[in-house]
């Protein structure tokens, strides 16, 4: 019984570890907290695995736990991000939102562009960032994102709209391929 449960958890839940870590990383903005949050997510998920319906969206279910843990335990430790007028040219922003040491990207130019996108994303209000992260970066449906965030679908829709607009405006100098000088 124990082995069956553990084997099922290993098969269904653990393959989503990287996605959970990525979400945790974007929520907390720090590698060390993201590791703790990801680990807490999986330990809590194992405790609750009896309530998980096999065959449903396990990744979304894990994100729900991650977001809930973040709201209840980690957010208090976060400092509210300060708004900056420009992205990618602000030395303060560079020091505040460093390119994570665990990241692996193809080229230096792409790394710089990706760091700027991450920086711009980090400056968004948390609600907008979470909606964008789930729907655009993690490819969840509006419905699953609403379940993760514990809000109506219409709220996801409006947060997504405002967040995408702010993100595009913050990265006004970039084209979509990540090249500067638009």
């Amino acid at each position: 019984m124990t082995d069956d449960l553990r084997a099922q958890f290993d098969t269904e839940a653990l393959p989503h570890l990287r996605a959970v870590f990525n979400v945790a990383r974007r929520l907390t903005g720090r590698d060390d907290q993201a590791q703790d949050l990801a680990q807490d997510t999986f330990l809590r998920a194992f405790d609750k695995f009896g309530g998980f319906t096999a065959g449903t969206n396990c990744r979304a279910w894990l994100f729900t736990i991650t977001y809930s843990l973040f709201i209840n335990h980690y957010r208090r430790q976060q400092r509210e991000p300060k708004l900056v007028s420009t992205v990618g040219q602000d030395p303060l922003l560079e020091s505040r939102v460093p390119a994570p040491e665990s990241s692996r990207v193809a080229t230096p130019a792409r790394a710089a562009a990706a760091a700027d996108v991450e920086g711009a994303l980090a400056q968004l209000p948390e609600e907008y960032r979470a909606a964008i992260m789930l729907v655009d970066a993690e490819d969840l449906s509006y419905e699953d994102a609403a379940a993760v965030l514990g809000c109506p679908i219409g709220t996801v829709r409006s947060r997504l709209c405002r967040g995408r607009t702010q993100l595009a405006n913050a990265l006004h100098d970039y084209d979509i391929a990540g090249r500067q000088g638009r």
């Binding site: 019984m1 124990t2 449960l5 553990r6 958890f9 653990l14 570890l17 990287r18 870590f21 990525n22 990383r25 974007r26 590698d31 993201a34 590791q35 990801a38 680990q39 999986f42 330990l43 194992f46 405790d47 609750k48 695995f49 009896g50 309530g51 390119a99 994570p100 665990s102 990241s103 692996r104 990207v105 562009a113 990706a114 760091a115 700027d116 996108v117 991450e118 711009a120 994303l121 964008i132 992260m133 655009d136 970066a137 509006y142 829709r157 409006s158 997504l160 709209c161 967040g163 995408r164 607009t165 702010q166 993100l167 595009a168 405006n169 990265l171 970039y174 979509i176 990540g178």
Partner: protein, 140 residues
């Protein structure tokens, strides 16, 4: 609707293909005719593409999976399917103990309703005179 009645969230619904056929035609026609809504749609498309393609995919830190697996190995079966969790087991145990104590307490105490019935029967047959001391005390 005229081009001056700008759309709110519908351009995003168009972008994310969340409109039915007739709505899609209506919103697309408006966007084609309205510069501002077309610009809004373009902004949304850019924001979505940045989020989809521009964000970093972080590599897992070394041994995070190993650390989680070690913690899982140490955990009891608490929340397993069909099993009883530790917390739930504690609640069940305390409830059962409380029920048992209440039952024992009631059994050893006087059965007041039965005593009243017996007293009333005895007074009806003249074997006993009802004591209204308590009623008098309450009136006083």
């Amino acid at each position: 609707m005229t081009a001056q009645d700008h759309l709110d969230l519908e351009p995003q619904d168009l972008l994310d293909e969340r409109l039915g056929p007739s709505e899609r035609v209506r919103v697309q026609a408006h966007v084609d005719a309205c510069d501002r809504c077309r610009a809004d749609l373009d902004t949304l498309r850019r924001g979505r593409e940045f989020a989809r393609r521009g964000v970093l995919q972080h590599e897992l830190p070394l041994d995070l999976r190993g650390a989680i697996e070690r913690e899982l190995d140490r955990k009891p079966v608490a929340g397993g399917r069909g099993g009883i969790g530790r917390r739930r087991g504690l609640v069940y145990g305390l409830s059962a103990a409380a029920g048992l104590l209440a039952s024992l307490y009631l059994r050893r105490g006087h059965d007041l309703p039965a005593e009243v019935i017996e007293t009333f029967k005895a007074s009806n047959t003249g074997q006993r005179v009802l004591d209204f001391a308590l009623a008098k005390a309450m009136k006083a």
